[in-house]
């Protein structure tokens, strides 16, 4: 055996164990972060008894999380609906009548694409922003200053963000659903030779309110995930500007991963166990 082949094998072993370490470390970090987020969520829940005093803070966060995310959600949704129409038409052609195009778009948007894509784009924007803001406050001792003034940072900073996100994600998802279906409708009408009447008739054919409600419930949970993961990463920041950058990254990664895992869990729970039995 030549020395180069020995080196090569050693490198392969090193690469394998390095990969394992990377994945293992990442998974452990995520579990730790989720544990810390759980405790923080509980403290935020307990601080709800002072909800009235935090009303103005909630309104500010609703504007930041909801209203300021609206342009991004609008663009994402319109094109999501348009792409769904094109792809659905491609997959259904010659096998399924065109009347089913409307129902395919409406179902996929309201159950899955609306809540999940909205959560992913808003999660990227909002959780990073929350983590960077609270992280900067942590490293510049603003959180300590708040504690020193006997103002609970969880009540003042975390709870308003969580409540605002829980309210605004379903609202954004309603916008996303309407705009995505409109995008699909326009594309179907203009380039796929499906008349408005056919599209709407198709939608009516299999319309169940629980599809929309299930999607909105998903959005509600995703809102909580986005806010609490941003706050957790922010409050656990240490190490100056580099630490703030890492906190923002941790918040986005944790939010996105948990949204996708949560989507599977909620889809099973809602559309297999609860509504599936109906």
């Amino acid at each position: 055996m030549t020395s180069s082949s020995v080196t090569s094998r050693r490198n392969q072993g090193g690469f394998g164990s390095g990969l394992l370490r990377t994945f293992g470390g990442g998974a452990l970090d995520l579990v730790t972060e989720v544990g810390a987020a759980g405790l923080l969520l509980w403290r935020a829940f307990l601080s709800l008894r002072k909800l009235g005093r935090s009303f103005h803070l909630i309104v500010v966060q609703m504007r930041r999380i909801g209203v300021e995310s609206l342009p991004l959600v609008m663009i994402t949704s319109i094109f999501t609906g348009a792409v769904t129409a094109v792809q659905a038409a491609y997959q259904l052609k010659e096998f399924v009548p065109k009347i089913y195009l409307g129902v395919a778009i409406y179902k996929s948007v309201s159950i899955e694409l609306g809540p999940v894509l909205t959560a992913l784009v808003v999660g990227g924007r909002v959780s990073a922003s929350i983590a960077a803001e609270l992280g900067t406050m942590r490293v510049t001792e603003q959180i300590d200053a708040m504690d020193a003034m006997a103002i609970d940072p969880v009540r003042y900073l975390v709870m308003p963000r969580v409540v605002a996100a829980l309210i605004m994600l379903p609202v954004l998802t309603i916008f996303a659903d309407v705009l995505a279906i409109s995008g699909g409708f326009i594309v179907s009408n203009l380039s796929l030779d499906v008349s408005a009447k056919t599209f709407v008739e198709g939608m009516k054919l299999f319309f169940f309110p629980h599809d929309v409600l299930g999607g909105l419930f998903k959005a509600f949970v995703f809102g909580g995930i986005i806010a609490i993961m941003g706050c957790t990463a922010g409050l656990r920041t240490h190490g100056g500007a580099v630490g703030v950058g890492r906190a923002a990254t941790r918040a986005v990664v944790a939010s996105c991963v948990l949204i996708l895992i949560g989507d599977y869990v909620l889809a099973t729970l809602l559309f297999k166990v609860i509504f599936g039995e109906a």
Partner: protein, 265 residues
């Protein structure tokens, strides 16, 4: 000034991993006095200060404030205690998303639900006390380092605290501004008659602001006494600290004698 200890710290220990920062700190702060905790950077002075207000939990020892053990308080009790404290942080720690007025007014809004013209009046009164009248509309990013520390002091005294904690109040300031802050600490003490604890590595600041001085060395209090006693003691840690302070800068033969206000140099 009375001899009653308002804060009594006994055998305080704190370690961060293998780094033992506090190794049995004993310190008593009397009601109404200004106690300066002096020591080189990184000796654990700020850590000690954060323990007093419950921002850090010690590994051992006790901190008794007016007969109550701080380390055993729950969050609600700790917040009750904190309302009697004001703290000026090293970097001022102003909320940069709020104006100067909102920073100073925050404790009043949160704890006394003060609002409207009464809030404006109180905020302006506190800002006037620190020589910053008419700055309530400014943002922290528009202020100089010295102004930020003044706003931080105005915020710290918003609730008329019994105890004011200063974490390195003159660090990062030019000598003129540092002198102004020292005078402000002294004048605030005169106006509020509060107990003050000033943590600093600045010998000038310590002698100007303090009634008594405690020198921290290797995680313990190596000396405790009046500023007069500080200048006369033969305590080795004190003499070493002072000797380090008088080390001439590169190119200088000796320290500037004009700085020798307290006979230390």
């Amino acid at each position: 000034m009375t001899g009653r200890a308002i804060i009594d710290i006994r055998g305080l220990f704190k370690a961060f991993g293998d780094n033992e920062v506090l190794r049995g700190v004993d310190l008593a702060v009397r009601d109404g006095e200004t106690m300066v905790v002096l020591g080189p950077s990184g000796c654990g002075k700020s850590v000690l200060l954060k323990h007093i207000i419950g921002l850090m939990k010690p590994d051992g020892g006790s901190i008794v404030v007016e007969g109550r053990e701080v380390t055993g308080l729950d969050r609600g009790e700790l917040n009750e205690l904190r309302m009697r404290f004001g703290m000026v942080f090293q970097g001022a720690a102003l909320f940069d998303s709020m104006t100067v007025g909102a920073n100073v007014g925050l404790p009043l809004v949160e704890h006394h639900r003060t609002g409207g013209s009464e809030l404006d009046r109180l905020v302006e009164e506190k800002l006037e006390m620190v020589g910053l009248a008419g700055t309530a509309h400014l943002w922290p990013s528009e202020l100089s380092g010295g102004m930020k520390k003044r706003v931080a002091l105005a915020r710290a005294i918003a609730l008329d605290p019994d105890v004011i904690l200063y974490d390195e109040p003159t660090t990062g300031l030019d000598p003129v501004m540092a002198e102004q802050i020292n005078e402000l600490i002294r004048s605030t003490q005169g106006k509020l008659n509060a107990t003050s604890i000033v943590v600093t590595h600045d010998l000038h600041s310590a002698c100007f602001t303090g009634d008594r001085v405690a020198l921290m060395d290797e995680g313990r209090i190596a000396f405790e006494g009046t500023t007069d006693e500080l200048t006369k003691t033969e305590n080795e840690a004190v003499r070493t600290f002072i000797a380090r302070g008088r080390r001439p800068l590169p190119g200088e033969r000796e320290a500037d004698p004009s700085c020798d206000r307290y006979g230390l140099f």
